[in-house]
Symmetry: C2
Subunit: 428 residues, 2 copies
């Protein structure tokens, strides 16, 4: 079969009718599969069951500094956990906060605090006529939800395989003091799976923002979530920012949500000492400190960074076949058409699929009607607005390989059907 776009109307109609028959057959099966969010599978959760035994009533809950972790005290994380996060971020322990169970909350709180109180003495963002954030796209819907919630105007920035469009970013932040931040998932990005090149990281570190309180929100959620037992190197941005004389320009975030148990894991952030000191000052008002026992539980389970990395290999072994199944099924299904391209990530939690322009919403809707729930079309763009209506995020980790294969077939048929209808209605 040739390319959809090169078919004449008769050929395309025949293909379309065949697709409809295939789609109807899938629909008749009455499947029910939710792939809307990137969540660990049961097999992945089983990897961490030992975490539930690592602290028990016989455990000495005295910390390395003599503190009783069962009682009040310690605002920024137990020293053991701070060391682990410091090793992970390649920073010192006074550049680390190990907080509660969610890096999303740490990000929300950073922005909430900037709105109400400003950063390091700057004007509170809420007092300014306008605040803008740059948003590399496609990106993470929960980032966009935070900035939207605070009324921050979001400006999409295109990305390629090296990262966001730096020419645009450099010029925008240098000329517009209302631009106060940018959302980045620098490694195995959500959803495209790319890792920022060294040049991109260095250009980030060397930005000359008009706003002195401009911040890079560096959500390194997937920094050790390799799929192939092989790390893709990402340059240390805090190091580069220090070299460039911009030590306070970046906040880095991480959590174990997709390593142990989502909700029962640890989240942390890293930044310059000056930023961390300011954040801890707020935390004395906001918090009695994190769950130290759960931090100890994690440290006894992992021991150190090596232990954490070992666990990641086991995760990779479980989820790699799923990513492979997605890729091979999509390759097979789209072989006879020119209506889709997709990412082949080396890590992270997602595959990014681009269907024919104007077809993402319909494709997701068709999938849903056939029992396959995907992330809403548009979710990967600020305000849910994908200008091409083309991007669909695939979250392969939770279903089985068999379910995934079935789901990808349904997705492919739906995308092709939507494309054929689009072309036919456009008068092809």
């Amino acid at each position: 079969m040739a390319s959809f776009k090169s078919m004449n109307r008769e050929e395309l109609t025949a293909v379309r009718n065949q697709l409809q028959a295939e789609y109807d057959a899938y629909k008749a099966k009455g499947l029910s599969l939710n792939m809307a969010r990137g969540i660990p599978s049961k097999a992945q959760l089983e990897l961490s069951m030992g975490l539930l035994d690592s602290v028990n009533s016989s455990t000495d809950l005295t910390g390395i500094n003599g503190a009783d972790y069962r009682n009040y005290g310690i605002l920024d994380g137990i020293p053991e956990a701070k060391q682990l996060f410091a090793d992970l971020f390649h920073v010192t322990t006074d550049e680390i906060i190990v907080g509660g169970n969610s890096s999303l909350t740490l990000m929300f709180d950073t922005i909430s605090s900037a709105m109400a109180h400003g950063l390091l003495g700057s004007t509170p963002w809420a007092s300014l006529p306008e605040v803008k954030f740059l948003c590399p796209v496609p990106g993470y819907d929960r980032h966009f939800a935070i900035t939207e919630y605070f009324g921050i105007k979001m400006i999409p920035v295109p990305m390629d395989e090296n990262g966001p469009a730096m020419d645009f970013i450099e010029s925008a932040v240098a000329s517009d003091p209302a631009i106060k931040g940018i959302w980045c998932v620098p490694k195995y990005s959500n959803p495209v799976g790319i890792t920022y090149s060294d040049e991109v990281v260095r250009r980030f570190a060397n930005l000359k923002p008009a706003a002195k309180d401009f911040r890079i929100f560096w959500d390194n959620a997937y920094c050790i979530h390799h799929l192939f037992h092989e790390d893709v190197q990402l340059l240390d941005i805090l190091d580069e920012c220090k070299k460039a004389g911009n030590p306070n320009m970046v906040y880095m975030y991480f959590s174990t949500s997709k390593i142990t148990f989502p909700g029962a894991g640890l989240a942390g952030m890293a930044s310059s000492k000056e930023n961390i000191t300011a954040i801890k000052k707020r935390m004395t008002v906001q918090s009695i400190g994190p769950d130290k026992i759960n931090q100890l539980r994690h440290m006894k389970f992992f021991k150190n960074l090596d232990g954490l990395l070992e666990q990641m290999k086991k995760h990779a072994d479980i989820i790699r076949p799923k990513f492979e199944a997605v890729d091979s099924t999509l390759t097979e299904q789209f072989a006879d058409s020119d209506v889709a391209t997709w990412s082949k990530p080396n890590g992270g939690y997602f595959v990014s699929l681009n269907v024919m322009d104007g077809c993402a919403k319909r494709t997701v809707q068709l999938c849903k009607e056939a029992g396959v729930t995907l992330t809403n079309a548009g979710a990967t763009y600020p305000y849910g607005n994908d200008p091409h209506d083309s991007n669909i995020r695939i979250a392969p980790t939770s279903p089985t390989v068999e379910e995934l294969t079935e789901a990808m077939k349904i997705l492919a048929v739906s995308a092709k059907l939507a494309a054929a209808d689009k072309l036919l209605s456009a008068g092809n």
Copy 2:
């Protein structure tokens, strides 16, 4: 020995010099005892060690609604924990959120949200020229720290054994739309230990605030922290608010910080469905939900409200002798003077001591120099400003009875020495 105030200069000087000798003798002992915060003792922490075994790798972590508590999902608490908190607050489960590990954070977030977004459609507080809170005094320093952090002007309100001065409150909130809230610890209040009378609760519920977004922050931190195995009844304020046609006027808070492990416990809040729905809407942006496994851990440990109440009896048995030691030592030490009064609470975590006007700061300083660290004088007032420089908060739970007895003697000698010096310098 007679009253200090009725002594002549010569008598008082003799007493003063004797006190100085006593004080110097204590100081020479080189004690080191920190009583600054209300924290559980080791013996109390031991009561909850079973919590660390209640969930282990053999536990089925499937919830009553079929959810896998090891994975993402559930924003407002597991149904089991919501039921416990609903039983505790006498509300329905849709009037409950069981959040993270700290009720302080829930309070901070409520106010932060009111500042940035307003409440139920009201003008964001940060956009108003002035926002004021009423602060019954003496009160809880961490409440005052939140309102101070957000630039909210705090107005002290006197209290008596029935609660805050309701005449003043009724008139103030009715006439001043800038008054948006009031901090209350309605049961075994921090630090005085009083419980609001039924009449006070009803008058709260029937307030007619000029500000439609006026809220009562009802921090029921000590609602089951009885000292004498006997509950002091507090009227249900949400019920009363509903009867009065003010269902949205109150937020109630609670945590298990002083029941299981501070930092590793559960915190929750209760309010009208409309308020809870609004808060959950914010939480979808801010949070991936609470630690469901730790919630399950608590539920398996306590089973239900009866289990929680049984645990409280054990706490009471441990801390009651300490409160009794404080009272008997203060009674003995101040028998020969007229320079101090103190509370005799039926529950909670504190004894409130009033020394002679103008003597609290000096007393706390003298204690510190003799090795006994108390809560800073003034901390129980907004901005740390006790206009009488008289109130000192005593936190008896952590030290042993022997340590407490020694500390109370030092405190008494210090208070008397400060009083004698004050009277002498005033020319008595």
